[in-house]
């Protein structure tokens, strides 16, 4: 892939420090409760914890048994119970139940709750209301960021999306700000900060405030990360709604990548157990195919298999000494590679089975025509059939949302009929799902004749009503006009295709969607970084409803020759998809400029914004 003038992406900073910090603090916290204890872990924290500390480390610090926090009576016999949970009311109530049950049984034990990444006042409030404030001690495990890969860190807060974008609950923003503070204390300061979106702005401002509070020891360190870019998920729902076709994205869509690892079932491992596989740059095979379009992957894998065979074959004709060398040095690596290769081939086959079906082809076709804005009627009826046949509840919802967002809302007839069909297929409780989707603007109805002036008069009426709260709602609904077509045209998101798009040698980020669409979020990032400001993007910003910002830290020398200045941290508030990560990785290589370690805060949720019907 080497072509003249292209530099490799710069090395991202060493994110492993984050892991060490988290581990040390956890050990410290466990030691705070001396003696043997049982540890109850929030289901959500299981996988992240797994990446930080293994069971033997926990045992070393006198953790006796491990339990999952779930609605079952506690069977532990230990005298000390330690709960490692996210700061949610639900979890606190769980602890309260345990304490109450013990009290009723006349048992006295020590209880300690460790909240990660931070404690919220509500939690204490609930403890108080339940009358067990005095029985329980609380602590915080400031484990904000989990490095998933060399260039990927995550906050692992799946509820961020729902809490902020749907419920308007701002509490996680503070957490984001603290995470940023941690990052800047380790790798900062950052020369330049860009961002777009309300949440981005709030998070940025809170972060600045935090920094100012501890200001003082601003020794002139050499920054390891040059720029930082904030993106709100609601700036670009479209990308999150499209089916993924790069390998890593497909693996996620098919098997669900959780916390950087995936569970391959027995059908793939061709054994009788399922295997948990860590997917990151350490996996040599995966590293080479993760960002590739799926059509290339199979060819690559078979090539790889042949190479491997050739290496094995070298054994023949070796003398004893060479053989010894081979066994001691290369064989292990080869074996390992062999194992990975067979796993990925298995995964590929499984994906192929599912995705080469006609359904999938037509799904992709529909998505593309929706993106381009052709054959809307045909797409609508495809969606209806999709629902009628109960193909997949999530995919149906995704298509409906995509239709709504690209068309600025469904026409009333479609809106009613698609919803009716959906309810008939999947149950009336989805009435609440639709309501939620409407609230975040993913699935709306075109209101005929509602021009801008109409909205304006509505707003002014509200002002006279002196209901300031409703005013913001009104503005929000204004913001929810997606304006996708306009933005798409302005930024050229649909590449003009002359002949076949060459997926083997992609020329732009559109390759992550088979050359049909450049992810909007990534395009904005590319444009802003190229201009080093928002200048010239005013129209796009207006269509996206503003809230953009660009701040230069005067204290940091902006020296473009520094390698680190090319490192850019992109913070997705509300999650991001693997397609976006692939696109940004492509951007990092191609543009001779910068590499992009993403920080998918609360990744995953955005992938299927289909919100569950109830809580």
């Amino acid at each position: 892939m080497a072509s003249p003038g292209r530099r490799d992406a710069p090395e991202p900073p060493d994110f492993a420090v984050l892991k060490r910090l988290a581990r040390d603090q956890l050990v410290y916290l466990l030691e705070q409760l001396p003696g043997r204890k049982d540890l109850f872990i929030d289901a959500d924290l299981m996988s992240p914890l797994d990446r930080i500390a293994n069971v033997s480390l926990l045992k070393q610090h006198e953790v006796d048994k491990l339990y999952k926090v779930e609605n079952k009576p506690v069977v532990s016999t230990s005298d000390q119970l330690c709960f490692l949970v996210r700061p949610r009311i639900r979890n606190v109530k769980y602890v309260a139940d345990v304490v109450h049950a013990d009290k009723a049984a006349g048992r006295s034990r020590k209880y300690k709750i460790i909240f990660s990444p931070q404690k919220f006042y509500v939690c204490e409030m609930v403890l108080e209301e339940e009358g067990i404030y005095g029985d329980v001690t609380c602590d915080e495990w400031s484990f904000y960021l989990l490095p998933l890969d060399d260039d990927l860190i995550s906050m692992e807060l799946p509820e961020f999306f729902r809490d902020y974008f749907l419920e308007g609950d701002h509490r996680w923003i503070n957490t984001v700000a603290r995470a940023l503070q941690l990052l800047s204390s380790l790798y900062g300061p950052f020369a330049k900060t860009y961002g777009i979106g309300r949440c981005a702005k709030m998070a940025y401002e809170l972060w600045r405030e935090l920094e100012e509070e501890v200001e003082g020891d601003s020794q002139a360190r050499r920054p390891e990360i040059g720029h930082i870019f904030f993106v709100d998920r609601d700036m670009d729902y479209v990308t999150a709604l499209c089916s993924q076709v790069v390998y890593e994205g497909l693996v996620d869509d098919t098997f669900r990548i959780k916390c950087g690892s995936v569970d391959f079932g027995p059908d793939i491992t061709s054994g009788d157990r399922s295997i948990k596989l860590l997917l990151n740059a350490q996996d040599k095979v995966f590293a080479e195919i993760r960002n590739e379009h799926f059509t290339n992957v199979f060819g690559f894998l078979s090539q790889k298999a042949r190479n491997l065979q050739a290496q094995y074959d070298r054994r023949r004709g070796m003398d004893i000494k060479q053989m010894k060398n081979f066994v001691s040095q290369e064989l292990k690596g080869l074996k390992q590679e062999h194992r990975l290769l067979s796993l990925h081939i298995g995964a590929c086959e499984s994906i192929m089975k599912k995705k080469t079906k006609q359904d999938f082809q037509e799904l992709i076709k529909t998505e593309h025509s929706l993106l381009e804005g052709f054959d809307i009627r045909e797409s609508a009826s495809f969606i209806e059939e999709h629902i009628d046949r109960q193909v997949s509840p999530i995919e149906s919802l995704r298509l409906m949302c995509l239709l709504s967002i690209t068309e600025n809302g469904l026409i009333p007839k479609d809106y009613r009929s698609l919803k009716t069909q959906y309810l008939q297929s999947y149950g009336p409780e989805h009435l609440l799902t639709f309501h939620n989707l409407k609230r975040i603007g993913l699935l709306t109805e075109q209101s005929p004749g509602e021009t801008f002036t109409a909205v304006e008069s509505k707003v002014s009426r509200l002002v006279t009503d002196r209901a300031a709260g409703k005013l913001t709602d009104a503005f929000n609904s204004l913001a929810r006009k997606s304006n996708f077509r306009g933005i798409s045209k302005k930024l050229g998101l649909i590449p003009r295709v002359d002949g076949e798009y060459n997926l083997k040698m992609p020329r732009d980020m559109a390759y992550v969607f088979s050359g049909a669409y450049v992810p909007l979020s990534c395009k904005i990032i590319e444009q802003v970084l190229e201009r080093r400001s928002w200048l010239g993007l005013e129209e796009v910003v207006r269509l996206l409803n503003g809230n953009e910002f660009a701040v230069t830290d005067p204290a940091v020398e902006d020296n473009p020759t520094w390698e680190s200045q090319r490192v850019i941290l992109v913070v997705f508030l509300g999650g991001c998809t693997f397609s976006e990560i692939s696109a940004l990785r492509f951007l990092g290589k191609e543009k001779v400029a910068e590499t992009v370690p993403d920080c998918p805060l609360a990744r995953g949720e955005a992938k299927d914004p289909a919100l569950p019907p109830s809580d």
Binding site: L206, S425, E429, G469, S614
Partner: protein
């Protein structure tokens, strides 16, 4: 002394604080007649006698005055109540020593200082002792009774041993140690048999030594544990001394007591001789850490043991290195060569660094700046001839002396010795300056010593501001501005603290103004809440972006306001509202309903009921009722779609309930689609049809549904019947697909023939009948279809088909 007293000191009740502290006088205290002109007057003077404040005493009879460790004045009244005043005679608070004291009255009282703070011990009229070890954390303790005590003890004192306060008392020749639970008679070891009755006792500053004076003029000195005797002394004075205090320097071998009579002062130690002074007027003793302060109407003196360093240097004909160095330096100034000789002499003995050290140390003990200077000069001179001598001690001493000289100035009037200053620490000294409102001097000292801003200057500024807000004569605006001007953005300044003080003084408006300067909104909130400005607090909390703060305010509001007002307030603050909703969702679902009701949010109410019907209601009637509520709300919200959908759901629920009872299979909570498909699987085609009509299911869906269900249960016969019932709205390709899916090629073939021509090729390929597929493709003359079929062929088996296709393609190409 700067004071100009008309009265004799003996007529006043007095208290002087240690560490060069202020002196309080209560005049006219003992006059019984209560004529208005002769009310008692409480006056407070600095140690230099400068008046700080005075007030007319209007409260009850005072028995004893005393100072706390933080320089507050304690006035112990006869009835056992203790009034606390600050340096400026401003009343702070009061507390009582308990009922028993109230009944029996205070006979005598002592104020004492321990590591726990300032304590008060009281001897009541019933000859019982009560004490409180720390007046800031008042815990009254009654000491063990002394049954034999018929008259007041001749003398008593508070001892502090092993972190317990006990009382040492003497009656006649008996000596007792009194604690909470017991009373032990003590015998001082080595007490002279002729000792006689105890008249006076003295406890040293650090509670380690005790001295006893008996009516034979005998003084016993020993440890407070009465295990060891340190010395004794006999004098010929039989009169009871007025005061006796210890005079000792920490870590010094010499221990001595100072005994005072009306006109005589005696210093006695463990030697045959004593030093006696004649007093011209009434003098009073103030025990200090390293000596005794003696003050009278005209003078204020300090009596102490000369420290060793000073002795060495200033003793007549001393040959100590320090003395030689001082001399050398003097000669040097006179430009005499003797300087060299002296210096050489020290250097020969290799004592130069010791000499410098001595000079530095001695300088610290001097009160006269001239002497300090000459000693320091000598030290600095000697330092020049030393290669490696850390300048730190010298620099420190210079700094310390400068500070000490400044505060010893009579205008300031804090005569601290070097040892006291070191014991007190600079932080406490600064506090004391602040207490005396000497802000500029305090700031100067901070700056001079380069203390960190947060510890020094800004702390003092904050105190200044807190004082400033108490000035009632200035307008709120003026005060706020003056404060902001001076404080600006000095780091470490907490405007909220100052505002808190303003609020305590009853200046709420000023407090709010000051809070505006507070950069951290988080700090503003608690005070605003305290001032009952909850709405302002709420908006500040939201501004801060800290959701915890918002919750704090919201909960506060919830308790403070009635429900209606509370909801109204929330409605205007969307951020707070959504947070509270989140809380209610988990904790108080009913409140959530009230919230929506208040807002007439029928849509959310509908959603709420729907949720209830799924989450909390178990019985079918309850669920239907909840849904019915939802329908009502949806209609109110003009959401007809949702209302209709919910009505349908009610209908469905009822049907499912019936089905469940009739067929004894779980139907509840299936979607309509699934319900019908289950019915078909169970062979209840009639009922399925019924539902299909009742819910107006689109034909297409019903066909899809039916054939896939039939295929699933393998009812091919029924399927065929169905396919012939009328023309399929979805065509026949789905039939083929579904048959193939369930591996029934035979059935699939039946339908393949009925597929519309455009889809025939596809259908035949699906069935695996490549031959027919090829025929169809050829018939259509479609090249792409032909390639499709070709791709499916394997040359070995389907040779004829391949050949056929190739031929057809060739024909097309020819054309």
């Amino acid at each position: 002394m700067a004071w100009d007293l008309a009265e004799e000191l003996r007529d006043c009740l007095m208290a002087a604080a240690p560490y060069g502290g202020p002196i309080a006088l209560l005049k006219n205290n003992w006059r019984k007649e209560k004529s208005p002109g002769s009310r008692p007057v409480l006056e407070i003077y600095s140690a230099a006698g400068l008046p700080l404040a005075s007030i007319v005493w209007k409260s009850g009879q005072v028995v004893q005055l005393g100072w706390t460790a933080s320089e507050d004045l304690l006035c112990i009244q006869e009835d056992g109540s203790v009034l606390i005043y600050n340096l400026f005679c401003e009343f702070k608070r009061h507390f009582s020593m308990g009922n028993e004291v109230l009944q029996n009255h205070v006979l005598e009282a002592r104020v004492f200082h321990t590591e726990y703070g300032t304590g008060v011990a009281i001897l009541t009229g019933a000859h019982r002792f009560s004490l409180a070890t720390n007046i800031d954390d008042l815990k009254l303790r009654r000491m063990h009774d002394m049954p034999s005590l018929q008259k007041p003890p001749s003398c008593w004192a508070v001892l502090f041993q092993d972190r317990v306060t006990v009382i040492l008392l003497a009656t006649g020749q008996e000596l007792y140690l009194l604690d909470n639970t017991s009373c032990n008679a003590m015998t001082p070891p080595g007490l002279s048999p002729q000792a006689g009755a105890y008249l006076q006792m003295a406890v040293s500053f650090n509670y380690r030594y005790v001295a006893l004076y008996t009516d034979t003029g005998y003084i016993w000195m020993g440890t407070a544990t009465f295990k060891e005797k340190l010395g004794e002394f006999s004098c010929d004075i039989r009169a009871p001394p007025r005061e006796m205090v210890w005079c000792a320097r920490p870590r010094s071998k010499q221990r001595a007591v100072v005994v005072a009579w009306d006109r005589r002062l005696m210093v006695a130690g463990n030697t045959e001789e004593c030093i006696q002074f004649v007093l011209d007027e009434d003098s009073y003793l103030v025990p200090e850490l390293d000596g005794v302060r003696i003050f009278s109407r005209t003078s204020h003196e300090f009596l102490h043991e000369i420290p060793e360093a000073s002795q060495e240097i200033f003793r007549i004909a001393s040959m100590a290195p320090g003395a030689l160095l001082l001399e050398a330096q003097k000669q040097y100034e006179k430009e005499s060569q003797k300087a060299d000789e002296y210096l050489r002499e020290i250097k020969d003995k290799e004592q130069l660094s010791e000499a410098v050290q001595q000079c530095i140390e001695a300088a610290g003990y001097e009160h006269e700046p001239e002497t300090q200077k000459s000693l320091l000069r000598a030290a600095s001179f000697g330092k020049c001839f030393l290669d490696r001598f850390s300048p730190e001690s010298f620099v420190r001493m210079c700094q310390d002396l400068r500070v000490l000289n400044a505060i010893r100035d009579y205008q300031i009037g804090i005569p601290l010795t070097f040892a006291q200053y070191k014991q007190l620490t600079i932080e406490v000294l600064l506090d004391r300056l602040v207490l005396r409102r000497l802000y500029p001097l305090a700031i100067k000292i901070c700056e001079y010593l380069r203390l960190s801003e947060i510890q020094g200057v800004s702390r003092i500024l904050a105190h200044w501001a807190c004082y400033k807000v108490q000035q009632k004569d200035k307008s709120d605006e003026e005060v706020a501005q003056a404060i902001n001007q001076k404080l600006g953005d000095t780091p470490g300044i907490s405007y909220s603290e100052i505002a808190g003080r303003a609020y305590e003084c009853g200046r709420t408006e000023l407090a709010i103004k000051l809070l505006e300067y507070e950069p951290r909104s988080g700090e503003q909130v608690p005070l605003l809440l305290k001032m009952k400005r909850s709405k302002l607090a709420l908006s500040k909390a939201i501004e801060s972006g800290d959701t915890d703060l918002v919750y704090t305010v919201v909960l506060h509001l919830k308790n403070e306001l009635n429900r209606g007002n509370f909801f109204m307030t929330l409605q205007n603050q969307p951020v707070a509202l959504s947070l509270y909703r989140q809380f209610c969702k988990h904790q108080e679902r009913e409140t959530l309903k009230d919230l929506y009701n208040q807002d007439d949010n029928h849509q959310e109410l509908g959603n709420f009921h729907v949720h209830t019907s799924y989450a909390s209601e178990k019985r079918i009637e309850g669920r239907v009722a909840a849904l019915q509520n939802a329908v009502d709300e949806y209609y109110k919200a003009k959401n007809e779609f949702a209302a209709k959908a919910t009505e349908d759901q009610i209908k469905l629920l009822r049907i499912q309930h019936r089905l469940q009872e009739d067929l004894d299979k779980p139907y509840l909570d299936c979607s309509l689609h699934d319900t019908i498909s289950h019915l078909i699987l169970d062979g209840k085609h009639k009922r399925a049809e019924q539902l299909y009509r009742e819910f107006k299911i689109p034909d297409k869906r019903f066909w899809w549904l039916k054939i896939s269900s039939l295929a699933e249960c393998g009812d091919w016969e029924e399927m065929e019947k169905f396919s012939k019932s009328k023309k399929s709205p979805i065509g026949y390709l789905p039939f083929v697909e579904i048959c193939v899916k369930y591996h029934n090629r035979h059935e699939a073939k039946k339908y393949a023939a009925r597929v519309v021509p455009e889809q025939k090729v596809k259908a035949f390929i699906l069935v695996g009948d490549l031959d027919q597929a090829a025929d169809a493709a050829i018939e259509h003359k479609s090249e792409s279809e032909m390639s499709l079929v070709l791709a499916k062929c394997s040359p070995a088996i389907d040779a004829t088909v391949v050949e056929k296709l190739n031929r057809a393609r060739a024909q097309i190409l020819k054309k």
